[in-house]
Structure formats: C-alpha cells, structure tokens
C-alpha cells in the first residue's frame, strides 16, 4: 500500500532517503579517487586555503590543515558515507532523528569550504537539503517540519526558474545554438546527439525551448491539480535522467529528485 503523501514526517523521510543516495555517490567518488585529495593533486588544500584570509589565520589554519590532511579528509568522506548509509537503513515510517543527518550536513559544509573547484550544482543543492533537515531536527515540531518542506520546495522552484530564466533571455539558448554547443563538447557532450542536432537545427531549437519552458514554469506546479503536477514531475525525472545519460552528470538526478517529495506534499 502506498502511504499517504500528506504526512509531513513521511515526506521528510523520503527527502532524507533520496538525498542520502546522492551523498553516498558523491562521497565515494572522492574516496576512490585519492588523486583528488592528496597534496600533489589538482585540489591541493595548501593552495586553496590561500583564497581567504580567514583560512590562513593562524588559529583556523592549524585546525583546517589537520582536517584537510589527505588521510583525515578521506576519513571525513568515509564518515559522510557511513552516516548516509545509516540514514538509508532507518525504517521508512520514521523520521531519522539522530546524529547522522547532522554529520552529513557538517561534512558537506566542510567539503565545500575546502574548495568549490571540481564540485557541482548537485553538491550545492544537497547541502541546502541537509542544512534544512538539520534545522528541522533542532526544533522538531510539526510547524517547523511543514516550514522546512515549504522551504525545500521553494528552493527547487527557484533552482529551475533561475536556470530557465537565464536561458530564456539568451538568444542562443532560445534558438538551440547553445544546446548544440554544450552537447558538442567532449566534457559535457555526446558525439551522436551533437551530430543529430547539428544536422537538425529545428530539433535542437524545439528541445531547447521545451526544457527552458519547463524550467521557467516549474514554480507554477504548486498551483496545478494532482494529475498535471505528476506529469510535470515525470518530465523532471526524465530531464535529469537524460542529463545523467547524455552529459554524465549522474548526481544531479538524486540531488534534485530528493526535493520532489516536498512538491508532492503540497498536492492537496
């Protein structure tokens, strides 16, 4: 039986579960790639701490040098992974009122403090989700839980709307040139799709406009009846699946889907 989605505790639990999958993936990606954390790596802390005076203030430098020592940092990533596994293992019906959510929040903050280079929008969105969950756990009342769900839904709407807005005001996005341009890169692109869009400019334009209009109108989802809301969200799932498949941005799928239950809560 599908539990009713008007239970705020269940909504929070679903957000925790989907967000934890994203946390596990991103943590393991760094753990298995020591080249990303060692002092001879592209992301050497000894270089990145120079970006702000606070980070080289004697007191903080001492703390962060220990914390971001490659072995300590690997430990921090491992703790983040284990905390997310513990959150996943809790029963579906219960909100995870424990230390593990706070561990994920703190370690996510420390990851983004170390550097934002090599990090991506999914890391930032997951941070927003887990800080929100930590705040909810501080004052675990139904009013606060509902406010937290509203906040997460609002952040999702803001994310899609901002992304759509900056594309709709850019002629090259509206006429499909930018979409084909991104897909033509070896970094984020796809050879077959790039070739297809290069030959068929109308398809490129149509796809680009469809995504832009979906992003720009996403905030209206709150006002839609249940059936239309589900269609909107299914389109979102397909959108993120395509991004993972075509662009290799696998973690956007879990990060952004973790906020979808918040939208469903306002489905009444």
């Amino acid at each position: 039986m599908i539990p009713p989605l008007n239970d705020p505790l269940l909504i929070i639990r679903l957000i925790e579960i989907l967000g934890s999958v994203s946390v596990i993936i991103s943590s393991l990606e760094f753990i298995i790639c020591p080249k990303m954390v060692n002092n001879d790596s592209i992301l050497n802390w000894q270089v990145f701490k120079l970006r702000h005076n606070l980070l080289i203030h004697k007191f903080w430098e001492n703390i962060f040098d220990r914390l971001y020592h490659p072995r300590a940092y690997q430990g921090l990533l491992l703790a983040r992974t284990l905390a997310a596994i513990m959150v996943l293992m809790a029963p579906l019906s219960r909100m995870n009122e424990n230390i593990f959510i706070h561990i994920i929040t703190i370690t996510s903050l420390l990851m983004l403090l170390r550097t934002t280079f090599g990090m991506e929008g999914s890391d930032q969105f997951v941070l927003v989700i887990f800080i929100s969950l930590s705040i909810i756990l501080l004052d675990n009342k139904i009013l606060i839980i509902k406010t937290g769900i509203l906040f997460i839904a609002a952040q999702l709407c803001l994310a899609y709307f901002t992304s759509g807005y900056y594309k709709i005001i850019t002629p090259d996005w509206w006429n499909g040139v930018s979409l084909q341009g991104v897909l033509n890169t070896k970094n984020f692109g796809n050879r077959q799709l790039s070739a297809l869009l290069l030959k068929n400019k109308t398809l490129s334009k149509l796809l680009s406009r469809a995504f832009i209009l979906w992003e720009c109108t996403f905030p209206l989802i709150i006002l839609l009846p249940k059936e239309l809301k589900l269609i909107f969200l299914v389109f979102g799932v397909l959108f993120h699946f395509c991004i993972a498949l075509i662009m290799g941005l696998n973690n956007f799928f879990w990060a952004f889907l973790s906020a979808y239950p918040a939208i469903l809560y306002f489905n009444r």
Binding site: L28, E29, F30, I32, C33, M36, D40, I42, L43, N44, Q46, V47, F48, L50, L54, L55, L109, T116, F117, G118, M119, E120, L127, V128, I131, L138, D139, I142, L143, I144, T147, G148, L150, F151, A154, L158, A159, T162, S163, Y166, K167, W173, S178, V182, N184, T185, K186, N187, F188, G189, N190, R191, S194, A195, F241, A244, L245, G248, L249, N250
Partner: protein
C-alpha cells in the same frame, strides 16, 4: 499547540535564507562580491550552463626542461575518456575533469582581467602549477611548464587555440 520563540527563530532563518538565495541569483558585481565571502557556499547559484554555456573544451598540457635546456614534448595531463553506460549512476572521472575545467576557465577569465605576470599569484595558476609539477616526468628534468589549450568539440574544423603558456618553473 502554541508557537514558541525557537519556532519563530527557525521560521525567520528559513525566510532569511530564502531571500538571500533569491538575491544570490542576481548576476551583478555587488552580489557576486558578497558571494565570495560565502565560504561554505550556503547561498546557492542555480544558473546552470546559462546565460553563456561552455561550448569549448579546455586542455592542460605540461612539459619539462633538462638542465642543459632541452625540452620534452607537451603531454596532456588528462586525456578525455569515452563515457560508458554505467556513468549514468557512477562517474567519478568527471570530478577531476571538472576541476581541471574550472581551473582552466578561471585562469582564462583572470587573463582577460589581469596580465600574464599578475596571474602567476592567482589560485588557479598555483593549483595548475602544483598539479603540473607533480606529474610523472622524464628522469633528470629540473623545470616544468604548463599550457592551457582550447578546442572546439566533436565537430569543428577550427584549429586548437593556445590560451596561455606559463613560465618555466624550477621543480
């Protein structure tokens, strides 16, 4: 159930954070200056690939110098790999690729704003130099140098463009 002061504090925190998040999306210099102070990236930036998306590929190449002045050939630090079907769920390779892309594009922007000498003390220059100097190199070489090259994707007749060549640095 009554609303207590802690409840109000939490609601105010959520409201303030959301207002800051909206302001954080505005791409004007004043906002971006404040953003630089957000060390934890708490204020998100959601303009993915917009308004101007990256439609070029950036490559970092290194070479070394022997004490007698002879130079090795240029070598790319990370050869792009073809993506596999499992990358849809597991794609750790993109992290290093993204880091190189971010650093190369940041250095390219800094080059427009400053001159080639000034960028030598920038974080992106130092990070790339650190990376280049720790790459495997020919035995006996004493110096290293890196280059940022831009290419134009899968389908383009355009030649690669050398955006920047660093000074030669003693290892």
């Amino acid at each position: 159930m009554t609303t207590t002061i802690p409840d109000i504090v939490v609601i105010v925190i959520f409201c303030a954070w959301f207002i800051l998040s909206i302001l954080g999306q505005i791409r004007i210099d004043q906002v971006q200056k404040i953003r630089k102070k957000d060390l934890f990236s708490i204020i998100p930036q959601y303009n993915f690939f917009a308004p101007t998306p990256g439609t070029k590929d950036f490559h970092v190449l290194t070479r070394n110098k022997f004490p007698d002045g002879d130079l090795t050939g240029w070598k790319e630090v990370m050869i792009p790999k073809k993506r596999s079907w499992w990358n849809i769920v597991w794609n750790p390779y993109r992290r290093e690729k993204k880091a190189i892309f971010d650093l190369a594009t940041t250095l390219a922007k800094e080059l427009k704003a400053y001159n080639a000498e000034s960028v030598q003390i920038s974080m992106s220059y130092l990070a790339l130099l650190n990376y280049a100097s720790n790459m495997k190199r020919f035995p006996g070489t004493t110096h290293c140098q890196f280059m940022i090259m831009m290419t134009h994707g899968f389908f383009s007749g355009e030649q690669p463009i050398i955006l920047f060549t660093s000074n030669m640095h003693r290892i």
